[in-house]
């Protein structure tokens, strides 16, 4: 059995933009995910960060095969799952589950909690009605809800309790992988802490593997073993958690880290922020060369706007897609804007001729 539970290679999802009413023809494509590769080891948590619109949710839905990837491969537990038919996917669907951001929209308001949590048992025809009920009550207890509340409807629960229901549902048939798409983004800090503690406890107890998507870098640092940074449909940096937070190499990662508010007024005032200009560009018309170059403080004309950087090893397991990776961290805005000359021959640029 391989150490890797999930291996994603060159994953792409392009949404066609069509014109015409009767004869629809494709006039462009939204390149929501455009060639992402990474692996997730058994029992670890891979955090995924990036601004909204970077393609995190689309990537998650491709991994889960909720939507069909345009290209690339997704190997789950040793098995290629792209191109599998619905029928072939069935047994695999039991082993990967998803928890969504919005605890209000993701639960069917007309179904009782028992039916919601037991849905997967029903779909996969596991157990009798009494067994299902017992399992559901056990699950409610595991996630810290009252098992007696089996017959209640979602609206009778608070936001945090609904997210617990979402977690119970995902756990129902002992999955190997849980993909969490911003599971705590809509919650108050105190409730967020309860859910994060719960997810960590469950991981220990059941040996779960998580892909944990969030835009909050504090949350991602707390829960992850390794972190993937996405920008405009691309993986721009992947590293172990400590490597990424202590020695970020990509200017985008640096900018994200420096933008995080720190609950310490002295630190907050002392540190120099690196402010990015503007917004993430549209994946309909991505920039040439490096996708980040129009907002990058170290953008080097003639290189960054021409050549696409490849995700290559910077040190050991630490991979970065940048022509001028950061030499050190922390860095102030002036140092950020002036990459050391040697950087141009560094690891990130060994990508061949333009």
């Amino acid at each position: 059995m391989s150490d890797d539970l999930l291996v994603v290679e060159g994953l792409k999802k392009h949404f066609p933009v069509t014109r015409g009413i009767i004869f629809q023809r494709q006039v462009a494509a939204v390149k929501a995910v455009d060639g992402v590769s990474f692996t997730v080891k058994r029992g670890e948590t891979l955090g995924v960060v990036g601004e909204s619109g970077c393609g995190k949710s689309t990537m998650a839905r491709c991994i889960m095969r909720l939507i069909e990837p345009t290209a690339g491969s997704v190997v789950f537990d040793g098995r290629e799952i792209t191109g599998l038919s619905r029928h072939e996917l069935r047994p695999i669907r039991r082993e990967m589950m998803m928890v969504f951001q919005d605890p209000y929209a993701s639960l069917n308001p007309r179904k009782r909690v028992g039916a919601i949590v037991g849905e997967a048992l029903e779909v996969h025809k596991i157990g009798t009605a009494t067994e299902t009920k017992r399992r559901v009550q056990e699950l409610l207890e595991i996630v810290g809800l009252n098992p007696e509340h089996y017959n209640r409807f979602p609206h009778e629960f608070s936001g945090g309790q609904r997210q617990r229901i979402g977690v119970a549902r995902a756990l129902a048939i002992n999955p190997k992988l849980i993909v969490c798409d911003e599971p705590v983004s809509a919650l108050d800090v105190s409730v967020q802490a309860q859910i994060l503690n719960l997810l960590k406890d469950l991981q220990k107890e059941f040996g779960l593997t998580y892909v944990f998507i969030a835009h909050d870098l504090n949350v991602v640092r707390h829960i992850s073993d390794r972190v993937l940074v996405m920008y405009l449909g691309h993986a721009v940096e992947v590293a172990t958690r400590d490597e990424l937070y202590h020695h970020p190499r990509h200017p985008y990662t640096g900018a994200l880290l420096s933008a995080v508010p720190v609950p310490n007024p002295e630190l907050a005032r002392a540190r120099q922020q690196i402010l990015l200009e503007g917004d993430v560009p549209s994946p309909l018309n991505p920039p040439s060369g490096c996708w980040f170059h129009p907002r990058c403080p170290r953008h080097h004309p003639g290189v960054c706007d021409v050549r696409e950087p490849q995700l290559v090893a910077a040190a050991g397991d630490h991979r970065v897609a940048c022509h001028f990776p950061l030499e050190r961290w922390p860095m102030n805005a002036a140092e950020m804007a002036a990459p050391a000359a040697s950087a141009s021959t560094g690891a990130g640029t060994a990508t061949g001729a333009p």
Binding site: D188, A193, L196, N218, H222, S258, P261, P263, P265, D279
Partner: protein, 340 residues
């Protein structure tokens, strides 16, 4: 004199289920040119506090008492037309959702020009050039062209900037911002906070910043009010609050934050859920969730009193000062995680 002096503010809503005491005896002051952060979980009464001060509650269901003295004049007792003359001029407000204050069917330029004309007697071209200046000041790229765009043509972050432009166009003395960055990415949030800071320095406006994020408070606030269950439970300068948070709810809030500046294995968990404002708990509102609760906490409401000996640092808690100082020492080494 304080620019804004809120005294014993109460707001009660009549609902089908009964009376909701959304604001229950809130007092604080805002000094000219300074930033006050109001922090608390959702439902603690932050928004209603500010809507009440601005006279924006639904008059049919809300009843209000107390005072909100702005430059010495009580906003709550002021005739409607006088209040309207202040709003958007000397006091303005920014909401979380920019579309609540932008009109989707008019261009940004038209709305800005109207805002100028509401409070200043100037020519059209002067109003237009003021509008353009403020759009540039808030960092809208190609402002000359974008001034004739409609709100939907802007991204979320840009729309929030437009709303800040709208709020600042008449150089208010007081800007009330209700979670203006909550829906935004960290990068955009950092841009907006920096922008507010720069504009505050330039125009000398005081800011009331409502947020649920203690990180945002640490970034920009001079003074802080912590709300819980419609009341102020702690009030201090930002330095004091983060150096010596003085009651269990604030300890819990700090400890439940995952933070980028150190590692904690488990976050603090405040058990239970926030109190109902229909039937708030007896005694201290936090006692049902408090691991330090004593019998007095169930029967008697603690007053907002000096917590650590400092005049500017007040909190509501029955724990004696020595116990609190010992607990603070003990907890701060673990960054307040693992309180429970």
């Amino acid at each position: 004199m304080a620019l804004l002096d809120v005294r014993d503010l109460h707001t009660t809503f009549r609902t089908d289920d009964g009376l909701v005491k959304a604001v229950d005896g809130v007092s604080f002051t805002v000094e000219p040119g300074k930033t006050l952060g109001i922090v608390g979980e959702s439902g603690s009464g932050k928004s209603v506090t500010c809507l009440t001060i601005m006279g924006l509650n639904d008059r049919r269901s809300a009843s209000t008492s107390g005072q909100a003295l702005f430059k010495g004049a009580d906003l709550l007792a002021m005739p409607k037309n006088e209040l309207r003359a202040l709003r958007g001029n000397e006091i303005s407000m920014i909401f979380q959702d920019p579309m609540t204050s932008l009109n989707p069917v008019h261009t940004i330029g038209r709305q800005l020009v109207e805002a100028v004309h509401l409070h200043q007697d100037v020519s059209r071209s002067s109003a237009r050039s003021q509008s353009l200046d403020v759009l540039k000041a808030v960092g809208i790229p190609n402002a000359e062209r974008r001034i004739d765009d409609y709100p939907h043509q802007f991204s979320g972050g840009m729309r929030q900037r437009v709303m800040i432009a709208m709020a600042l166009i008449n150089h208010p003395d007081l800007l009330i911002a209700d979670e203006p960055t909550t829906a935004l990415d960290v990068t955009t949030q950092a841009q907006i906070l920096k922008l507010m800071d720069t504009l505050q320095k330039e125009y000398g406006s005081a800011i009331v910043m409502i947020t649920h994020d203690l990180g945002v408070v640490a970034e920009i606030a001079d003074d802080v009010v912590v709300m819980y269950g419609a009341q102020v439970v702690e009030r201090a300068t930002a330095e004091e609050l983060f150096a010596r948070p003085s009651m269990p709810y604030t300890w819990g809030l700090l400890g439940s934050l995952p933070r980028i500046d150190h590692d904690v294995e488990r976050l603090a968990q405040i058990p239970g859920t926030p109190p109902s404002l229909l039937n708030p708990p007896s005694g201290c509102r936090f006692h049902p969730r408090c691991t330090y609760a004593m019998s007095i906490c169930q029967s008697e409401q603690p007053p907002l009193a000096s917590a650590t000996g400092s005049e500017t640092h007040l909190s509501r808690c029955h724990l004696d000062q020595a116990t609190r100082l010992t607990e603070i020492k003990k907890l701060e080494s673990g960054h307040f995680a693992e309180v429970t």
